[in-house]
């Protein structure tokens, strides 16, 4: 179905102008619709994700389906509170007055979603936009076609299509959408396209949320529970869409001495998780398409690093699978260390002292996430203070992004703006300050002609200096 971008926007603007989406009841009805479609079509969703990504049922269930349900349930529970105006402080200067912040929707939101968590990332943004009372256009990723068409079908069937539309397609359709004027755009994807979205938004002065990526480092210290750490590392790397996750740990930093032990622990646990022939394990996602598959094999086969593979390296072009691969001591100027890997390759960079890792990280672009495994409290403190990233997890990977009470977003090249939970509601709202005054409490000194006496009074008044106010009033 070809949807004309301008026509879609015009229709949504009319719906928004009617005020329908502002009502609490309408918003609640849409959350309920999302829960319903998720429950009734769980099988279809899992199948679509299996088709697009060979996503293991576990991952589909936990990260995508449970993730969406959790967000919708949280919104249902909290919406009333979120919509309540916030009281604001006023000062003596404006006495008598009262002030508050009223949340209002922005209008028409464009959600450009991505292919790796196509169901979750589409609905996470939609839930936020609807919670705030907006109308929405969703542009799902064409790189996950089964999920894209399922989203179009289910949203069309279950949700209010006068307020929520799905526009499928690729670059031409996205470009047409970006030419329209939106009240906010949320884009999840690469830095390169992020710049294009920001430039298009600039023409209309449209604010944006850019959820990009980056090379998320993980520092592994000594004197830790290596077994648990290895499992969490594996879970965050290969257990998340085979490393094709914006918050997956991209590379490891550890000391030269500790590296062999770490590799051993990882290899040991990897076999427990995925067996001796990981390419045959049903619990591993495949690479999304042949273009990314080729990109990753090129990274692995690059002459600077191919000799550094200490585990894995197997690949199957027909099934687009790459086995969990660990590389040790890759050179920092290799290709694999200069682009976001977004795949099942895990390079280890070794340093002399663990503290040196901070310099390695800070010399690079700010990532979406950074991780540290350590029991050393001082190291933890230093990490939190000196490493700038969208978010941090200590002794864990990726899970800060699943915590709905934390804002999820990047900084620098990893993005701008944040969402999840109440942050979503805030991101898609305008918090309008409202100041109420009455006609009493007139201060003549406000008005010209400005005499020296008025000026003294005004100065004292604005300074809040009671004594000077009196002095000015009585001409002392």
């Amino acid at each position: 179905m070809v949807v004309d971008a301008a026509v879609a926007v015009a229709e949504l603007r009319a719906t928004f102008a009617s005020g329908k989406t502002k009502s609490y009841e309408w918003r609640v009805s849409q959350f309920k619709a999302i829960l319903k479609l998720t429950n009734e079509h769980e099988k279809d969703i899992i199948e679509a994700l299996r088709s697009d990504l060979n996503k293991p049922e576990y991952e589909a269930l936990l990260y995508e389906i449970c993730g969406v349900k959790k967000s919708a349930k949280l919104a249902l529970k909290e919406l009333r509170r979120w919509m309540t105006p916030e009281k604001a402080k006023t000062s003596l200067i404006t006495f008598p007055s009262s002030a508050e912040l009223v949340s209002e929707p922005l209008g028409v939101i464009l959600v450009i979603s991505t292919w790796n968590y196509p169901f979750l990332l589409s609905f996470e943004a939609i839930i936020g936009a609807i919670a705030a009372g907006n109308t929405v256009v969703l542009k799902p990723s064409e790189i996950a076609p089964a999920t894209s068409s399922l989203l179009s079908k289910l949203i069309g069937e279950y949700m209010d299509s006068s307020a929520l539309k799905v526009v499928e397609g690729a670059v031409p359709e996205t470009t047409a959408l970006l030419e329209q004027k939106w009240d906010k755009i949320i884009y999840t994807g690469s830095e390169k396209v992020g710049r294009i979205v920001a430039a298009a938004a600039a023409k209309h002065l449209t604010p944006v949320i850019l959820e990009l990526g980056g090379k998320c480092p993980v520092i592994v210290d000594t004197k830790i529970n290596l077994e648990v750490a290895a499992r969490r590392l594996i879970s965050g790397k290969w257990g998340c869409n085979s490393g094709q996750t914006c918050v997956s740990p991209d590379y490891i930093l550890t000391t030269k001495e500790f590296a062999p032990k770490l590799v051993d622990a990882l290899v040991w646990e990897l076999e427990k998780f995925y067996g001796k022939e990981p390419l045959k394990s049903p619990d591993l996602s495949r690479i999304v398409n042949s273009s990314h598959f080729n990109r990753l094999t090129k990274l692995m086969d690059n002459e600077k690093v191919s000799g550094k593979i200490v585990h894995g390296g197997q690949r199957d072009k027909t099934t687009l699978k790459i086995a969990p691969t660990i590389l040790l001591d890759v050179p920092e100027d290799s290709l694999i260390m200069n682009e976001e890997i977004f795949g099942p390759l895990f390079p280890i960079i070794t340093v002399d002292k663990i503290e040196d890792s901070f310099n390695v990280i800070n010399a690079r672009e700010k990532p979406l996430a950074a991780y540290l495994f350590t029991n050393d409290k001082t190291l933890q403190e230093e990490f939190v203070e000196s490493v700038s990233a969208g978010g941090l997890s200590i002794n864990e990977t990726t899970l800060h992004s699943a915590t709905l009470t934390l804002p999820f977003g990047g900084v620098g090249e990893s993005g701008m703006g944040s969402y999840h939970g109440k942050y979503s509601f805030d991101a898609f709202s305008h918090k309008k300050p409202v100041l109420r005054r009455s006609f009493v409490g007139e201060v003549a000194a406000r008005y010209p002609p400005y005499t020296p006496k008025k000026q003294r009074f005004l100065q004292a008044f604005l300074d809040g200096n009671i004594i000077d106010i009196f002095r000015a009033l009585f001409g002392w």
Binding site: R50, S91, S388, P433, R437, F439, Y447, Y450
Partner: protein, 501 residues
């Protein structure tokens, strides 16, 4: 030009290095700089008034109210904020510690918090109409958040610009805070660099240019733009109406002669009230500002010849000229335009489609005051809407059915000095906000932090997955502890796969 490029590049490299060194992150450094700003303003007040008078003909009372006093209380509240959160981790009030109870059992034990951190090197563009406060207020925010800063004052207010360039290095740490003067050529060179944030106050046209330049580097921006800020005037009692008219006159002509982003652009009023309104406004103008354009007092002039001609041209439209009911004369030599009132100028004239930014006040009459809502909604969202009314229902209607940066009931302009309120626009009037703690927030990155220990591992997290593990995780993730218990006791069936592999 090469000299400018070299200068800008050198400044930026220095600021980056100094930021990396951690110089600006300590509580003491920030407090020292903020106190220095207070001192700068207090010790140079006369010179500031002199510069404002030269650039805009601004009266010291206006200058005090709108430019120098705002630094005072903004700094006080920032300082107090910093002081009250004594911890090495700044802004305890901003670091939200989330209780374990809100995290899924899956993560127990864990601690989650949000830590504000500085963005890095920040660029602030100040506008010419409030050249001191629009430079210092964002600077205060950037400093309290721990950033290094370049301030680019507007070249259209040259006396203030050179004042800032000269005085700031004498009071503030010039390894971390720099003032770069110049025109659009310098601005262009600055915009080619990569910044961690750009804060811009000015017009929508230039806002687009700034945002496009920022997009190349994925630099977040705050745009404080403008718009046509309307007044809705409902019917009021005699005494209330007199107060309203004073506030309207003071707000329109008493703030940089209408050259203010939140300045009143036009008035919407019911037709039958228009004559009284016009009469009262005339009286007020005469009392406040005088009668003859040659003898105007307590009012700013137009900033320069370009803007002067722009405003005069707006009045030259025949339909507009015919609607003048008061004023309309100007003093070209002194760049003064008389406070002018229009009654029902044509709605398609430039004066009703562009932001006036001058001392001309159109009054648009309606059959009913409720029509004002539709009128406003047919136009871009303004930075502020001012509503004079005592009717509670109407107040609610305006709040719910219009959108603007802010809404003020029964006064004008005054939201600017309320530190507890965020100051910013929506739609074409901009995005992002500042003032008070919002300034701190706008120049910070809120970093999410999750801390776990190695204790208590949950096996079901890990593959190979089976029905038991899947059901366990599902229930744990949804805080469904009762069913989880049943599962563990073997009283609940395991998850069965939905799909055929």
């Amino acid at each position: 030009m090469e000299e400018i490029v070299a200068r800008v590049g050198k400044n930026l490299a220095e600021l980056r290095q100094n930021f990396r060194s951690g110089r600006t992150r300590g509580l003491e450094w920030r407090k020292t700089q903020l106190r220095a700003i207070l001192k700068l303003v207090a010790e140079n007040e006369d010179e500031i008034f002199e510069a404002l008078n030269r650039d805009l003909g601004k009266h010291p009372a206006e200058a005090y109210r709108d430019e120098t006093s705002s630094s005072n209380y903004i700094t006080e509240s920032s300082c107090l904020g910093l002081l009250s959160s004594f911890l090495p981790r700044f802004m305890a009030e901003a670091a939200t510690v989330v209780l374990v109870g809100k995290l899924p059992l899956l993560l127990f034990p864990a601690k989650a918090e949000v830590l504000p951190e500085p963005l890095g090197v920040v660029l602030i563009f100040a506008s010419w109409n409030f050249p001191i406060s629009l430079a210092l207020d964002p600077l205060i925010g950037a400093i309290s958040a721990g950033n290094t800063v370049v301030v680019k004052p507007s070249e259209l207010a040259p006396a203030c610009s050179s004042f800032l360039a000269r005085i700031v290095p004498l009071y503030l740490d010039n390894k971390a805070i720099k003032v770069v003067e110049g025109g659009s050529d310098v601005a262009e060179k600055l915009l080619e660099q990569k910044w961690d944030k750009i804060f811009f106050t000015g017009s929508a046209r230039v806002g687009r240019i700034i945002m496009s330049a920022a997009a190349k580097h994925l630099t977040p921006v705050t745009l404080e733009l403008g718009g046509k800020c309307p007044i809705i005037l409902d019917s009021l009692s005699g005494s209330d109406l007199k107060v309203a008219v004073k506030r309207i006159s003071g707000g329109k002509w008493g703030a940089c002669a209408g050259q203010a982003c939140i300045g009143i652009d036009y008035v919407l009023v019911q037709q039958k009230l228009a004559p009284v309104l016009v009469e009262l406004l005339k009286k007020c103008i005469k009392t406040f500002y005088g009668e003859n354009v040659k003898n105007l007092n307590s009012i700013c002039r137009i900033v320069n010849k370009n803007h002067f001609e722009r405003v005069c041209n707006l009045l030259e439209d025949p339909g507009v000229a015919a609607s003048i009911v008061y004023g309309g004369s100007f003093d070209k030599q002194n760049l003064l335009i008389e406070p002018t009132i229009l009654l029902d100028p044509p709605l398609d004239a430039d004066i009703m489609t562009e932001e006036i930014f001058g001392p001309v006040l159109p009054i648009i009459t309606l059959n009913e005051v409720e029509e004002s809502i539709e009128f406003i909604n047919a136009r871009p969202k303004p930075l502020a809407i001012y509503v004079f009314t005592k009717n509670k229902t109407f107040k609610e209607k305006v709040l719910q059915e219009t959108s603007s940066g802010s809404v003020i009931f029964n006064d004008t302009m005054i939201q600017f000095i309320c530190d507890g309120l965020p100051f910013g626009g929506v739609g074409q009037s901009g995005f992002g906000r500042y003032h008070g703690k919002y300034s701190f927030d706008t120049f910070s990155h809120e970093k999410a932090i999750l801390k776990r220990s190695f204790f208590l591992e949950l096996e079901p997290r890990y593959p190979p997955w089976n029905g038991f593990k899947l059901e366990f995780i599902r229930l744990a993730y949804n805080f469904d502890y009762i069913r989880l218990l049943l599962l563990l006791l073997g009283l609940r069936r395991r998850y069965t796969s939905r799909i055929v592999i």
